[in-house]
């Protein structure tokens, strides 16, 4: 029983992270019908922004709450700016071209971020050069957790996991509010439904798309900082697997559907944890793809998605 609960805890903790990244995929797909392949790498950039800010602030020596917040907000801002530039200069010029053109560009952007970050450092101190190079770096704990893990019998729940779960849920609720209760969210849903008509109704489509990208990038940065706080080894390829898995989560929930991405993330996290825990531990990375293929075969529109037949 304890083992079962332990897997549940771990699964939820991984699942919320997938969900946060999946939200970025699903929202961008909703408004633009583009699989933003580089989204996983935005997550990686988020982790490295946090790393550099921590070094600049000297978080390693004395972590405080204020510094933790600065790391958090700073990397959110850096990722927001990055995705804004990405959309403005790489995706917007291609918006009216064939969809595969944009997809190839997205793959190009993704590879560029991954391999640019793997170049050996040009400047900066030896402990934190820029670009960081291929070796994994140690992400300093943004806060110190003096008290030990929560006392729950045999079960071990790390405090940092509880905090990150709460933060992730908080951001998801905030997003839910933005999408369904604000003017921006209404415009976003209108653009996602039919961008041309939305434009005719006086919605500034470009601004909505930029805004959607920025929200996605910010959520990826949140996910990155949360992950890096509990698993502090970061490297330029760290975004590859979570990015692909989050995409699977988004497809599973029905791509373009915001609550679907959250559910999809949790289901994927739990599925991975249980299959790895009880059946085949080394096949963890294969599960996401097996799940993807099954979903696409059985219900291509995903759990909550609606299938729209192609019209001529």
């Amino acid at each position: 029983m304890t083992e079962f609960l332990q897997h549940l805890v771990n699964g939820v903790s991984v699942g919320t992270i997938y969900a946060l990244i999946a939200l970025g995929y699903t929202m961008v797909y909703g408004v633009l019908k583009l699989i933003n392949f580089a989204h996983g790498d935005v997550y990686m950039v988020g982790a490295f922004s946090g790393f550099y800010i921590s070094h600049a602030l000297g978080v390693e020596k004395e972590p405080t709450l204020a510094k933790a917040l600065a790391v958090f907000v700073g990397s959110m801002m850096i990722c927001g700016v990055l995705v804004f530039l990405m959309e403005r200069f790489a995706y917007r010029p291609l918006r009216h071209r064939a969809r595969l053109t944009a997809l190839i560009t997205a793959i190009g952007v993704s590879l560029f971020l991954e391999y640019f970050m793997q170049l050996s450092g040009w400047f900066g101190p030896a402990s934190a050069p820029f670009p960081p190079g291929p070796t994994p770096r140690f992400f300093p704990q943004p806060m110190s957790f003096e008290t030990p893990d929560l006392p729950l019998g045999e079960l071990s729940i790390q405090k940092v996991d509880v905090i990150s779960f709460l933060v992730a849920v908080g951001f998801m609720l905030a997003l839910q509010w933005v999408v369904y209760r604000t003017r921006f969210g209404t415009s976003m849903r209108a653009v996602s439904f039919d961008s041309q008509v939305a434009g005719l109704m006086g919605i500034n489509v470009n601004r909505i798309i930029s805004g959607t990208f920025i929200i996605g990038g910010v959520l990826a940065a949140v996910a990155a900082i949360l992950v890096a706080s509990s698993r502090p080894s970061i490297n330029p390829l760290m975004g590859l697997m979570p990015g692909i898995k989050a995409f699977v989560a988004a497809v599973f929930g029905g791509i373009g559907n915001v609550p679907g991405a959250m559910v999809g993330g949790l289901v994927l996290g739990l599925a991975e944890e249980y299959v790895a825990g009880y059946l085949l531990s080394s096949y963890r990375d294969g599960i996401a793809f097996a799940l993807l293929i099954v979903v696409l075969l059985v219900k291509p529109a995903g759990l909550f998605g609606t299938f729209r037949p192609e019209k001529v």
């Binding site: 010029p93 793959i107 391999y115 096949y283 990375d285 294969g286 793809f289 293929i293």
Partner: protein
């Protein structure tokens, strides 16, 4: 006419084989290596072009099919070691193993293509990528396939002549396919899938067939590669390899056989000679991808062939009807 057509099909193969066999003895080792790699990349690029260029689908898991072909061939040769003497017998086993690798890769292509080709373009891309990763995970977890270290100690059976002949076969398959009924159907699917279906083209069937052909050729390339490197590891067949091939055909022009051929050859030779800057290799690839998509999304050649650019041949083609 019949024997003439047969001759036209076999002649390039024989010519390449004879030419390369004559030349390969006098090549310095380094250039021999570069040309083998270039030839394998040509097979990969031209075969992927059948799916991505002719049919307009978007597969980014070509290396997965390479892996299937390579491991099949490697396992067959290794398990028959000692049973056959070196020399002619070994060569025969090698050719049989390559053929078996093509068959298993084709089966893998069928299995992946059958369900996923009913999906739209970008989903297909993700499924092929997923397939590539699943293959890697399976290999790394299978003791039979040597896990992450792979199968080492393969005999060096791949020669430049084999690679050249395989490349010639691939180019011929692609060119002949393009001029056949099948090829026309593939082009119709690329131009407008709904319209093609309305015209009675069995879109799923043709897409799967294109996928199977491309996968078989990728399996051949994989087999040739591991018997040149004498080592078969999952590291040779990662997602990055798939992307490299995609970059080649995107730059050369999706749908142009000669474009894919030229870019594969030129890029390989260029990158091998610029080994000193290998750190920047993928950065350059990615920037090329982005800038080409922004500036010239059709690639260098678009869907044209290099001979379309020569005025005399174009006139002849216009009169004769060949594309």
């Amino acid at each position: 006419m019949k024997p003439l057509i047969a001759l036209r099909s076999v002649a390039p193969l024989l010519l390449t084989g004879i030419l390369v066999a004559l030349v390969q003895g006098s090549l310095p080792d380094y250039w021999y290596f570069v040309l083998v790699v270039a030839g394998i990349n040509i097979i990969l690029a031209v075969s992927l072009n059948i799916v991505n260029g002719f049919t307009g689908q978007f597969s980014i898991g070509h290396a997965g099919f390479m892996a299937v072909g390579a491991y099949t061939a490697a396992k067959i040769v290794m398990s028959t070691r000692g049973l056959v003497s070196t020399g002619a017998g070994e060569q025969l086993v090698f050719l049989g193993a390559l053929a078996a690798g093509m068959v298993t890769a084709a089966i893998a292509g069928f299995l992946v293509g059958m369900p996923s080709l009913r999906l739209r373009g970008d989903y297909l891309a993700i499924v092929t990528l997923g397939f590539n990763e699943i293959i890697r995970v399976i290999i790394e977890n299978s003791e039979f396939l040597g896990q992450a270290t792979g199968i080492s100690g393969l005999p060096k059976l791949t020669t430049l002549a084999y690679v050249g002949m395989a490349a010639a076969i691939t180019v011929m398959v692609a060119v002949r396919l393009l001029q056949s009924t099948h090829g026309r159907a593939l082009l119709a699917i690329r131009e407008d899938e709904v319209a093609a279906e309305a015209m009675g083209v069995d879109t799923t069937g043709y897409k799967v067939r294109a996928f199977v052909i491309a996968a078989a050729l990728a399996g051949l390339a994989g087999g040739l590669l591991v018997f040149y490197l004498q080592l078969c590891t999952p590291k040779s067949f990662t997602f990055i390899k798939s992307i490299e091939v995609v970059a080649m055909i995107v730059l050369g022009g999706l749908g142009s056989v000669s474009g894919a051929f030229l870019t594969a050859a030129v890029l390989t030779i260029l990158l091998e000679t610029l080994r000193g800057f290998s750190e920047y290799r993928m950065v350059v690839y990615s920037l090329l991808l982005i800038f080409f998509m922004l500036g010239r999304p059709a690639g260098l050649f678009g869907t044209r062939e290099i001979w379309d650019l020569l005025p005399r041949w174009r006139r002849k083609a216009a009169a004769g009807g060949a594309p």
